[in-house]
């Protein structure tokens, strides 16, 4: 077990994918916050699937950090139409001047389809794709199911996965042991996919005792009550 410095993600552009509810948005907000120590970061809310809980919600919590959140002007409104914010092109172009970009993609292959629109811009730069998974989500509750979703996302989005991130949790009820129990799941998914496990996230007070890297993350998601 070693505490992971997430800033070691070297790519200029990080694409964050996963099953919906895996924790992509929260991981993206944490990654953006950490990377902002190194350069200006654009966090792109590229979720065309989820109507309520999205990266835009983290905007306030990221105040004071060198992070610009870009979201569709229709995000969190009543406009129920998938749309892409035009500012993302400018953000992707700014990579050449030293900025970093984190793209929070919508869930599953349906969310990943919209990556096609910016595929070439991403591919032209140093980029990496992170697949976030949560073993406590019912439709990715086996390594095989999680691999299936990953392959669907890869084929819809046009990018191979560079790293796995284990974000297994059961919300506020998560105990350290709950995370530790998913270590075998993560190893099996890594073996099945041939993709290395970057780190295991935790919000519990103390770190899960597992081999490999662990990453303490903050909760940036919207609270209703």
């Amino acid at each position: 077990m070693a505490e992971f410095d997430i800033r070691r993600i070297l790519a200029d552009i990080t694409v964050v994918t996963g099953h919906f509810g895996a924790g992509k948005t929260n991981f993206s907000a944490n990654l953006s916050s950490a990377l902002s120590d190194l350069s200006h970061v654009y966090l792109i809310d590229y979720d065309n699937v989820n109507p309520y809980f999205r990266a835009l919600d983290a905007k306030k919590a990221l105040n004071g950090k060198d992070v610009t959140v870009i979201a569709s002007e229709f995000a969190n409104t009543n406009v129920d139409i998938p749309s892409v914010p035009p500012e993302i092109i400018g953000a992707l172009n700014s990579v050449s001047s030293g900025d970093r970009v984190v793209i929070d993609v919508g869930g599953d292959m349906l969310g990943a389809v919209s990556l096609g629109y910016i595929h070439d811009k991403i591919a032209a730069n140093a980029h990496g794709t992170v697949y976030v998974f949560n073993a406590y989500r019912p439709l990715t509750s086996t390594p095989e199911e999680a691999l299936g979703v990953m392959r669907e996302i890869e084929s819809a989005g046009g990018f191979k996965t560079s790293y796995l991130v284990n974000n297994s949790n059961i919300g506020a009820a998560t105990e350290k042991e709950d995370i530790e129990k998913t270590a075998d799941f993560a190893d099996k998914l890594s073996a099945l996919s041939g993709v290395p496990l970057l780190c295991t996230c935790y919000m519990t007070e103390s770190a899960p005792e597992i081999s490999g890297n662990v990453l303490k993350i903050k909760n940036y998601t919207k609270r209703l009550f």
Binding site: G21, P51, F225
Partner: protein, 354 residues
């Protein structure tokens, strides 16, 4: 899989499958589309059928047919889509068929919006269809309850041969919470000797219809159904009572706003105000008897809803105007904070002291 992290919509779908529901008919609409997605992925694995119909009207009539054959069946939609289903719902009631219908409410009227709302309370409890009819209406207020009340919905539907409506909202549908499925008991579908499922000449044929040619016959079925509603009211009323015993001010709130209100009640108690919460779990039948009792001990009621004031009138009827009944609500997809609700408690408390 016992404890999982799950969206409210997914919790309903998973619980339905565990309840033995093998037929789902629906039509996509935000914010409940995850149910159809979950059903589409899962039903084939358990030998069931998930079918995207050509419209909400078609979907509810497929439910009508499947229910008549005796299987456990459900549909789901959000506010505008539920309106479309109302004709089919009335026919299902007229035939005394069991089924489960979920409304993940969004803002209205009309196309309205996609953010959460409780503005279909009147529709759910008074008139989701024409005729002398009621539905059994359950209002979950957590993702765990989205699952457990789905199980109860199938049980009650079969027990009384009536449609059960789960009245949720977009927030409950979209938010994620841990759910322990091991804590939920699931009933097996009972024998249904009345079902029209083929008899091979071995029994008398079962006729399922809502059309009666003689007025006396129709009157007879409506009277029998009214008896059934009375039985349901005697046996199935459910509510959660929180700190009501010594409370001066009792908030009445269901679903997601009950969660917000509970925080406000706790804040009030911390500051020396005797507040409590009565959360109706069944909206129809309404926990009127309980409220009538509370009207003897409490000084005021406050109904908190995501609409312009609908359940508040049921609270007034139930408490027989013995005590003032106030209302606080947001609508159009906006949500109150617990601080907003607490301020209402403060205002009522201040008024009482004057």
């Amino acid at each position: 899989m016992s404890k999982v992290l799950i969206k409210g919509n997914e919790a309903v779908a998973e619980a339905a499958i565990r309840s033995g529901c093998r037929y789902y008919f629906g039509y996509p609409i935000t914010p409940q589309t995850e149910i159809a997605e979950y059903m589409a992925k899962t039903m084939p694995k358990v030998g069931g059928l998930c079918l995207q119909a050509e419209s909400e009207v078609a979907a509810i009539n497929m439910v009508y047919g499947a229910a008549a054959s005796g299987v456990r069946v459900m549909t789901s939609s959000s506010s505008p889509g539920i309106s479309l289903k109302s004709e089919g719902v009335s026919y299902i009631v007229g035939c005394d068929l069991p089924c489960v219908i979920l409304n993940v409410q969004r803002g209205g009227p009309g196309l309205g919006g996609i953010q959460p709302s409780q503005s279909d309370y009147y529709q759910a409890t008074k008139a989701l269809g024409h005729g002398d009819m009621h539905l059994f209406v359950l209002a979950p207020s957590s993702v765990q309850e989205m699952a457990s009340l789905t199980s109860d919905a199938f049980t009650v539907a079969d027990k009384y041969r009536m449609p059960v409506l789960l009245l949720a909202d977009g927030a409950l549908g979209q938010m994620m919470e841990p759910v322990d499925f091991d804590k939920i008991s699931f009933s097996n579908p009972p024998e249904k000797p009345w079902a029209a499922n083929g008899h091979g000449g071995a029994r008398k044929k079962n006729i399922i219809t809502s059309l009666y040619l003689k007025p006396e016959e129709l009157e007879d079925t409506v009277l029998k159904r009214a008896e059934k509603y009375k039985l349901v009211e005697e046996n199935e009323v459910r509510y959660e009572e929180y700190l009501c015993g010594d409370a001066d001010i009792i908030i009445v709130s269901f679903g997601i706003t009950a969660r917000i209100s509970k925080s406000a009640v706790n804040e009030a108690r911390k500051n020396g105000i005797k507040a409590g919460l009565l959360r109706p779990i069944t909206l129809s039948p309404f926990p009127s008897k309980k409220l009538r009792q509370l009207a003897d001990t409490a000084s005021a009621f406050l109904s908190v809803e995501l609409n312009m004031g609908q359940m508040v009138n049921d609270v007034r009827l139930a408490t027989e105007c013995k005590k003032p009944v106030y209302f606080y609500g947001r609508t159009g997809g906006s949500m109150p904070s617990s601080e907003d609700v607490y301020e209402q408690i403060l205002a009522i408390n201040g008024g009482m002291k004057k």
